[in-house]
């Protein structure tokens, strides 16, 4: 007979209709799947009782695909066909990958929007590789929960951009998983500790994994998690701690010669074992054979702390910077959440505690906390806990907007707006008889198009030819709960519509989002000046064009001496427009406006006369 779980009061489901949902932490090194059963969130172990699945996929010569531990075993013999840490390539272009990671054992094939990895089974997209990992987790969860899944919440780093989020979502779809929502990893960790219920304030999530360090400052406000800032180091983690131990052992033993790959691996294992044991004991004895040498000795906790002190200090520097970016004082931090296996090291905990002046939260396994938070959110989203007040909302990481005349960005959805959201703004044509409008969607905080990131372009055709400024084009930005954007443009009088689902071509570089936000602050003054200059230039051109058209149309009523003055003023304005002095342009515009005033008044009178001719007074 089927095995049952305990439901919340009144929430028992009918047979075959159990609302099964999972949370997935799709990690760079390891991935985990968790679920809420009988009201309790737990990571689901595999048949061997292992709680994590290495994020490794091996494409074998005989068309086999291994995932996890089996795949990892192949990393040494068949590195080209063993894809390790594929998350790094998701939603990224070849240029980004080469710049960030340098030499990798893979053969990359550049594609229009992404890269493929050439394996013995042909080209594989990073999305396909991620899907293999997700598929294994999904199958394992279905076996454990005894039924089909309603859906999953998958976590992504807070700094992931639209392309990387879309890639994650596509991978899930490929694996046959319905994505209930993507949530940020630090948000999931905060949810696991229940920080979202009934509290308001700022929390810091300190995430030190095997190879990366992330610090996120979040603000909780009425169930909304705002990411105030993120920071970190993509090349600093627990593996570096192991490396430091090995360096010290080799230095003490006076080993200077080049070591074989095999010896290096042996030493790396030793380093990790020593690190792990030093969490519980004060000193570890070791005895290892390398290259016909025997190294013996003991490594103490004090030695360990001495060699990693600089690395830990580097993480705290990132914390300080993140606090500064978020404009938050240490004292304002309500809680510090520890995530990632390396936060088990007692020295790391001590230093983080000393830095924030607060005992960090460590009661949940730091390797599992993200998956657990995701599963709690998934359980909620499928409706297993209807009277919960925990409504988790996410926010947009960067502002989204449109290009307007002169290379300016008009923000439609500002940064940190809670999603899902739809915002519309009305635009008009710039020239008489304009029948098309190019819509250019941008992401970023700066004022000029060149400084923001281009997400998509499309053209709205079939606008009825009207005088400039008459047609009304309504542009709607719609962001769904996963942070994915679609943009629709609609001309109101004809109902002509055009839209695009934004799938940006390249991922932002790792720290680019953070850089873009800081740049918008540091460049705020220049940006506003640049914006003002462009606006004046656009006004000037528009005014000159309009005046010239009017003077040709109503040539007869322009007085001769008037013509000279107006043409002089136009010439002045033209020259001012070439320069970069916004104030001078403004002055020249005013001057032209003043000199052409009498002509404009006469023109107006004439057209009213024309309009009224032949109409009786009572009809006016």
């Amino acid at each position: 007979m089927a095995l049952l779980q305990i439901a919340e009061p009144g929430q028992s489901t009918n047979p075959h209709e159990h609302k099964l949902a999972i949370g997935i932490d799709l990690g760079t090194t390891n991935s985990l799947v968790a679920s809420v059963r009988s009201g309790q969130a737990n990571v689901l172990p595999d048949a061997q009782g292992r709680y994590h699945l290495p994020s490794v996929v091996h494409y074998g010569a005989n068309r086999t695909i291994d995932v996890g531990f089996d795949a990892k075993a192949n990393a040494e013999n068949d590195p080209e066909n063993t894809i390790v840490s594929v998350k790094r390539f998701l939603g990224r272009g070849l240029k980004d990958i080469n710049e960030t990671y340098g030499k990798l054992p893979y053969t990359f094939v550049e594609k229009e929007n992404t890269v493929n990895l050439l394996t013995s089974q042909g080209e594989k997209n990073p999305i396909q590789v991620s899907a293999e990992i997700l598929y294994v987790l999904k199958t394992q969860a279905e076996q454990t929960l005894g039924g089909d899944l309603m859906g999953a919440v998958i976590t992504v780093p807070a700094h992931f951009d639209d392309a990387q989020r879309q890639g994650t979502k596509d991978a899930a779809q490929l694996a046959g998983i319905k994505v209930l929502r993507l949530i940020n990893e630090p948000t999931a960790a905060a949810v696991a500790y229940g920080l979202d219920s009934g509290q308001e304030g700022i929390v810091a999530i300190y995430d030190l994994g095997g190879g990366t360090f992330d610090i996120s400052i979040l603000r909780l406000n009425k169930g909304v998690f705002e990411v105030l800032s993120t920071g970190g180091d993509t090349a600093l983690g627990g593996d570096d701690f192991d490396g430091k131990i090995v360096q010290r052992i080799l230095a003490n033993a006076g080993v200077t010669e080049e070591l074989s790959a095999k010896s290096l691996r042996k030493l790396a294992d030793l380093g990790r074992k020593i690190k792990e044991q030093l969490s519980d004991v004060d000193s570890v004895d070791f005895n290892i054979d390398i290259e016909s040498q025997q190294l013996t000795g003991s490594f103490s906790k004090a030695d360990f702390e001495a060699v990693i002190a600089d690395l830990v200090k580097a993480t705290l520097r990132s914390c300080r910077r993140a606090l500064k970016d978020a404009d938050v004082e240490k004292e304002q931090i309500l809680e510090v959440v520890m995530v990632g296996g390396s936060t088990r090291v007692p020295y790391v905990r001590e230093q983080v505690k000393a830095f924030f002046g607060k005992e960090p939260l460590t009661s949940i396994d730091p390797d599992q906390v993200v998956a657990i938070g995701a599963s709690i959110q998934a359980d909620l989203l499928v409706g297993n806990k209807p009277d919960s007040d925990m409504l988790l909302l996410d926010v947009t990481p960067l502002s989204l907007g449109l290009e307007t005349m002169g290379g300016l960005v008009e923000k439609v959805i500002p940064r940190n707006t809670t999603i899902p959201v739809a915002r519309a703004q009305e635009f008009t044509t710039y020239k008489d008889g304009q029948t098309m409008m190019a819509i250019h969607v941008l992401q970023g905080e700066r004022e000029l198009v060149d400084d923001c990131r281009s997400l998509a372009r499309f053209v709205l055709k079939g606008i009825p030819p009207l005088t400039a400024g008459i047609a009304v084009i309504r542009v709607t930005f719609n962001i769904d709960a996963d942070g994915l954007l679609s943009v629709t443009a609609l001309e109101k009088s004809t109902g002509v519509e055009s839209s695009i689902q934004v799938k940006p071509s390249y991922g932002l570089e790792q720290n680019e989002i953070a850089d873009m936000i800081t740049a918008s602050m540091t460049n705020a003054k220049e940006d506003i000046q640049a914006r003002m200059l462009r606006e004046q230039q656009i006004d000037a051109v528009r005014m000159m064009e309009a005046l010239e058209t009017a003077m040709t149309e109503d040539n007869a009523i322009v007085l001769d001496e008037e013509r000279v003055v107006i043409e002089q003023a136009i010439e002045q304005l033209k020259q001012a427009t070439q320069g970069i002095d916004g104030q001078a342009i403004k002055q020249a515009i005013k001057n032209l406006d003043d000199t052409s005033q009498p002509f404009a008044a006469r023109r107006m009178e004439n057209s009213i006369k024309r309009a009224l001719t032949g109409h009786s007074v009572d009809k006016v």
Binding site: L3, I6, A7, E8, P9, P15, H16, G39, L145
Partner: protein, 107 residues
């Protein structure tokens, strides 16, 4: 009339209630549904309903409404592991037949 819990089931229920942080006990019941007519109900209890009977087993309260009790009398609730899957299992002497999946039954 009696309902019993195995030690494994009682331990689990106690842990789940502790982790949940509230709740009087565990409700067992049946409802009419499913491919074979009846299905088991297993829920946390926050407040008692009229006509509920409360059994106590190793400090764990098991609560059953009057109608369900007729179908559940003599039932033992166990907590079992079956491969990767784990959960509660009803052993009900009143049960005559069950559907292929075992999620619903007839008496």
């Amino acid at each position: 009339m009696a309902i019993s819990l195995t030690d494994a089931a009682a331990d689990r229920v106690r842990t789940f209630l502790e982790n949940r942080g509230k709740g009087l006990g565990l409700r067992l019941g049946v409802k009419t549904t499913g491919c074979s007519g009846l299905a088991y109900v297993l829920e946390f209890v926050d407040e008692l309903q009229e006509g509920d009977t409360v059994f106590e087993h190793q400090d764990v309260k098991v609560i059953i409404d009057a109608k369900s009790l007729v179908y559940l009398d003599g039932t033992q609730l166990d907590f079992v592991k079956n491969g990767l899957n784990e959960g509660f299992e009803f052993t009900n002497p009143n049960q005559k037949d069950e559907c292929g999946c075992g999620e619903s039954f007839t008496v």
